[in-house]
Amino acid sequence: MKNCREITRLLSEAQERELSLSERMGLRMHLAMCRGCRNFAEQMATLRKICRAYARRDEGNSGRE
């Protein structure tokens, strides 16, 4: 059974590669009972969106609304 520390590592790696079936199953079991890691999983996706938006933001707009 993986702990939260290991789960966050898997969730981070999932941003770089596809997880194996057994990794995904371990993940799903943990997430079903751990709200902290569920939130963390959502945040990894959000963080990626934020970074993409940031890198593509028009420099000229950065000082305006």
Partner: protein
């Protein structure tokens, strides 16, 4: 793309010429180039801490890549190439300034270990007050310039190597093998570093934006 127009030899030749041009077509696509330039600019500014220096470096890198336009087989290859040029320029500039990027990343590795221990208990579970919360409405944050200020401040707090690798991955959108080659590190090294960068960033964003000033109900 190239369809039925009959395969007379003259047309085949024309199609081939088209395909050859197509290889470098993205270099003539102003929208694509501008987007690429922005990504590189973000990266360079955060590495150099100087917008003018960064702009020059990006300009030179793009010009350098345009010169060897023929050898690219697509956008990914172009991006990798431009980025490699830019990275070298940034390294030169940092060296000229006397900052030692490697010393900096060595220093940070101890600090990084301590970091994770503060977040988890001995059994590797979240400490109560470190447990990630639900982020309300992240979509609207990206339209708020105050949010971007917080985001930049959080990026600034990352140790050098974490920031560099994280930006290669998330801003320049390089894939694992490209980053490992450019930074001369192993895959597991990269994974560990990205994990730590994300842990830090999410915590910083949560504390300073998503939960800042809100006594949120912890059900």
């Amino acid at each position: 793309m190239v369809e039925d127009s009959g395969t007379k030899s003259g047309e085949v030749g024309r199609n081939l010429a088209h395909a050859a041009q197509g290889e470098a077509a993205h270099l003539q696509d102003p929208v694509y180039l501008e987007e690429l330039r922005r990504q590189l600019q973000r990266f360079a500014v955060l590495q150099l801490g100087d917008a003018d220096l960064a702009e020059d470096a990006v300009q030179e890198a793009l010009l350098g890549a345009l010169k060897s336009a023929r050898s690219f087989n697509g956008r990914a290859a172009l991006k990798t190439w431009v980025f490699a040029i830019l990275k070298n320029k940034i390294a030169d500039l940092l060296r000229a300034r006397g900052r030692q990027p490697d010393a900096q990343s060595l220093l940070s590795s101890d600090e990084e270990h301590r970091d994770l221990d503060e977040l988890f208990n001995a059994r590797g579970h979240w400490r109560r007050d470190e447990r990630p919360a639900h982020w309300e409405d992240p979509e609207s944050a990206v339209h708020d310039r105050h949010f971007w200020r917080v985001f930049e401040a959080c990026l600034d707090r990352l140790p050098g190597q974490q920031a560099r690798l994280f930006m290669m991955r998330e801003f320049i959108e390089l894939e694992t093998p490209e980053i490992c080659a450019a930074a001369e590190i192993s895959v597991s090294n990269l994974n560990v570093t990205l994990h730590r960068a994300r842990m830090r960033l999410r915590e910083c964003l949560e504390n300073n934006w998503f939960q800042a000033g809100e006594a949120r109900e912890e059900s």
